[in-house]
């Protein structure tokens, strides 16, 4: 029985296999329509989500399975003070697999240590978001045709941006990857990501506050939102929220085959005028997220098609 808590729980071979399955699902959806018939996914979302929860739910429905769960901790026994361990041991009586989002870091790991069914981390605080990374990898593979030899610019909140941490962790395992880390000083990448992923694996990277200066070098621009919910101090949020706003003007010096990614939701960090640019890929990421989650559910439930 496997769970997915951190993107590094998956080997490169397993990542390749998931991407291959997702591509096959895209090409032949009918083959998978009943693959999870009789299986139930429980979505335990202690924190608000649109994309991730609906993506998991539609992934399971398109595999012929069904879905139970809650989308607000206030609607669960967590509001009465129930522990994550007790909640997951209750839920496993009703479901075959769990997708959990929690505002506290490490909650899905706690769930996985108590559960006897697979647990998928659907985002834990500012820590990890491995299935977003799977969606990102599938998008990069489909749009760039490769997962190696890329210069990736990560821009915005690199301190609390869990999607960025997982993306760096995953992409650092491929050959010839280079990062340009663009953020305000206060939202720089955490020390552990720098020292234990980038430095340890000898991945070339530069840190800068200058988005325009970095733009011409990039194959991928991964924008992130400055997340109000991660700040304890509203004044800090207000000061930093408009640090980077991507506009068509700023894209003028970018490569013609750049792809612009964003885990969404966006607030104002990508102008809506960028949406019609063929390089904008963020809504493709959303769709790819459903397909890769279908592949992941199949893998963790050990369903073969």
């Amino acid at each position: 029985m496997r769970s997915l808590i951190d993107i590094t729980d998956l080997s490169l071979a397993e990542l390749d296999s998931l991407i291959a399955t997702a591509q096959d699902i895209i090409a032949h959806p009918e083959k998978y329509a009943e693959a999870c018939h009789g299986k139930k996914l429980a979505t335990l979302f202690y924190e608000p989500s649109t994309r991730t929860r609906l993506s998991f739910e539609s992934a399971m429905l398109e595999l012929g399975g069904s879905v139970i769960g809650f989308s607000d901790a206030g609607n669960s026994s967590a509001a009465k003070g129930e522990s994550v361990a007790d909640t997951v041991r209750t839920v496993e009586c009703f479901a075959d697999i769990v997708a959990m989002r929690h505002f506290k870091e490490g909650a899905p790991l706690v769930a996985s240590t108590f559960a006897h069914i697979p647990v998928i981390n659907a985002g834990d605080g500012g820590h990890n978001h491995p299935t977003q990374t799977l969606a990102d990898l599938l998008t990069i593979q489909r749009e760039k045709g490769r997962l190696d030899t890329l210069t990736i610019g990560c821009c915005g909140d690199l301190k609390f941006g869990r999607t960025v941490h997982s993306l760096i962790s995953a992409m650092s395992r491929y050959e010839n990857i280079r990062f340009v880390l663009i953020s305000p000083e206060e939202l720089r990448i955490p020390e552990n990501v720098r020292s234990e992923i980038l430095d340890r694996r000898h991945i070339p990277y530069e840190e800068t506050t200058d988005l325009e200066g970095a733009m011409p070098k990039l194959d991928i621009l991964y924008m992130t939102r400055v997340q109000r919910e991660r700040f304890f101090n509203e004044a800090d949020y207000l000061r930093l929220k408009d640090s980077y706003i991507l506009t068509p003007e700023k894209l003028k010096t970018a490569k013609s085959d750049l792809i612009v990614m964003h885990p969404l939701p966006r607030v104002n960090e990508i102008s809506t005028a960028v949406d019609s640019d063929p390089r904008a890929c963020y809504f493709k990421q959303v769709l790819n997220g459903k397909y890769i989650r279908m592949a992941l559910i199949l893998m963790l439930l050990e369903v073969t098609v």
């Binding site: 994550v84 506290k104 870091e105 790991l109």
Partner: protein, 138 residues
């Protein structure tokens, strides 16, 4: 102050000053029947001041945690008044219940029953990180 030497037992030396009682409790030495002495702020030519723990019996103790406190600690095994073995502690793979995670976003901040577990992530630099949220142990 004079504390006599021991005939058979263990002397944990070069403990950073002020950490002796913490180790005394963590190693649960209060549960031993034999004599145990904790010496605080003893003069040390190497580190200025140090704490020392003397245990008056050769017992089997898991002393791995000492490596986390300081790699300079020495563990001396005494038999018939003679030191028969001296070693430095090795870094344990994980530490349970000795260090609290200070990250207010960590699940341990709201679930009091969870053990605080820190895992060795860099042996060379002696870095431990919270098993749940990856925050570095201080």
């Amino acid at each position: 102050m004079i504390i006599g030497s021991i005939t058979d037992g263990i002397v944990i030396d070069h403990i950073p000053a002020g950490r002796g009682m913490e180790l005394y409790h963590y190693l649960q030495l209060e549960q031993l029947e034999c004599q145990v002495a904790v010496i605080k702020n003893a003069p040390s030519t190497k580190i200025g001041k140090k704490d020392i723990i003397k245990i008056g019996e050769l017992i089997d103790l898991n002393l791995d945690i000492l490596g986390f406190v300081s790699p300079r600690i020495t563990i001396n095994y005494i038999q018939n008044g003679e030191r028969v073995k001296k070693r430095h502690p090795v870094l344990p793979e994980q530490i349970v219940g000795m260090v609290k995670c200070k990250n207010p976003r960590c699940i341990t901040s709201i679930e009091q029953e969870l053990p605080h577990i820190f895992v060795l992530t860099d042996r060379e630099k002696g870095i431990y990180r919270c098993r749940y949220c990856d925050t570095r142990a201080k």
